[in-house]
Amino acid sequence: MIGEMEQLEQLCAAVPSPDRQRLTAARAQLSTAIRRETAGHAARRPRLAVSLALRHRWLSRRRLGWAAPLAAAAAVTGVILGSQGVFSPVHHPVPSSSTHDPGLGLAHPATAYVAGQSGTVTPILTATGTALKPIRIGKEYGQISSAIVFRPDGKTAYVLSSTVLGGGSGTVTPIRTATNTALKPIAVGQDPRALAITPDGTTIYVTNYQSGTVTPIRTATNTALAPIRVGGNPWAIAIAPDGKTAYVADTQSGTVTPIRTATNTALTPIRVPAGSFSMAITPDGRTIYVLDLGSSQAQEGMVIPIGTATNTALRSIPIGHAWPSTMNIAITPDSRTAYVANASTGTITPIRTATDTALPRIRLADGAGPIAITPDGRTAYVIAGSGPGRTGTVIPIRTATNQVLRAITVSNLPSVIAITPAPRR
């Protein structure tokens, strides 16, 4: 008698390969989806595993996800996440007169939360780089978590996730950070993409890509309120520093819809020249910068400024060919300069926000991916070589002179960078 494993292997081996005809129908369905995406291109902006939405949060809004519980001098300057949740702390290379305290431990160890595809969120102690026990946030293994925000008091993290198969309804799972336990998931709309929290921490807004809505969540009770219809396929969201307005960009048509947070009503959409996957708002709240990849190689990538006083799009700033790669943005704490990274050309375009004019482009040898700026505004860090098959490097840029400093090598395929905040005094 043969063993049960051999019998099972034979049972599997007994199934013939599907004949061509059977596969043709499936192949045709895939081809249709591919054509639709190629034609529309708007479809998706490429992302690596864990990270884009984290990057949205951590970079563009600069309220660093895991940073809130911190009130200590930051030993770790940057945190880089690889596509597999690989985690590399990077120390500040410019000690000189810096107020940072390199090499010393944190008074209150910060925790980074890394979410991926497996329906779990892994807390990592940044002081030691140790991973703690993963927190399960979904029944399905295939739950993808794409974004995390923290309440300003740091007591609760909110993890946005949807099923691996996409298109399904999404959830936001609160995690109590003191105990790293997941609370009851809050249902949001179809295929959620991004979330943002008001500066006072009372409300979270979630963009639902398929539903064309934004779901507000009241954090006091962890309940979802009635969804706000914005239409189209919303993705990027940014909340003004005063917390009064949330801005939601549509990926297809060129609109940015302001939402009055006091009443949760959508205001008249602001017309912009193109759909977008990414935007940032200056810390002084005066200007929103919407990133437009351009819809083909014939068009340049653009940065579209929107003056929040009038809610009108101003003249677009060209930054070179960007399609079909990615663009990232970070703004200095003093709101004076926006740094826009163009992965396609490997350049950084500094933009003087006072006049919305582009300064000379900074060319990087190894590509230009996600970007973050230190709280003192002195240094910008750009992930380079974040594309497949490249080793990870992080390039510091001195913002005073826009001079490129020596590259820092990190773990493979970094995809997110975040910087610990300035000490609160």
């Binding site: 019998q7 013939p16 599907p18 596969l23 597999q84």
Partner: protein, 205 residues
């Protein structure tokens, strides 16, 4: 680096068959048509796996669904894994999981009738050997009684995935795969008459 995206798009049609799955998927981020090559590479095996668990008719739909889901989520693919099979088997397995009852009915029907719709096209030696032992019905009955987790592990391994690959497909640690496999094999073994081939004489009086 300059113009990565453009280069990727231009190179899209060249040397597509070269390179591992990760390279292909990476390229498909900018040049979606590259993803078709992944289908041509892996659809037959994925089709067989699904047909084994749900029958050939259900497999037609689920192969399409598997690759559509993979295409839509290709930006989540971990590019450090050169071989995309665990990922694709994982997606297929999750889709199969949505048809739990149908799968149990499918195996029960085989147990009841001895007719295996997934294998009927083949009248080869392999089938005859199993049929000759009269074990197919017991095997199907045992599969119908396993938990979904155990069936996932058992049939992924029996389909040719290694422990590590199965662990990747199911997004669980390899040791979980091992322990589920041990339990699943024990159940099947008992259903087949309790003989443990690795420990002869165990059942001897």
């Amino acid at each position: 680096m300059t113009n990565t995206g453009r280069q990727a798009a231009n190179a899209a049609n060249a040397d597509l068959d070269a390179g591992d799955d990760a390279a292909l998927i990476a390229r498909s981020l900018h040049a979606p048509e590259c993803f078709g090559v992944l289908f041509d590479r892996h659809a037959p095996a994925i089709g067989r796996y699904i047909a084994r668990r749900l029958g050939p008719d259900a497999a037609d739909d689920l192969v399409a669904e598997t690759f559509l889901a993979a295409f839509r989520r290709r930006d989540h693919y971990d590019l450090t894994h050169g071989d995309a099979r665990p990922w694709l088997y994982g997606i297929a397995t999750r889709l199969i999981g949505r048809h739990r009852r149908q799968e149990v009915r499918f195996f029960r029907a085989i147990a009841r009738t001895g007719v295996d719709p997934a294998a009927e096209a083949v009248t080869g030696q392999v089938i005859d050997r199993i049929a000759a032992q009269g074990a197919r019905r017991e095997l199907a009955a045992a599969l119908a009684r396993l938990s979904q987790d155990q069936r996932d592990v058992l049939l992924l391994v029996a389909s040719g995935l290694g422990y590590e690959e199965t662990a990747l497909a199911l997004a669980v640690p390899a040791r979980t795969v091992s322990s589920r496999l041990v339990r699943a094999r024990r159940k099947v073994r008992e259903a087949l008459g309790g003989q443990d081939p690795t420990r002869p004489g165990e059942d001897a009086p």
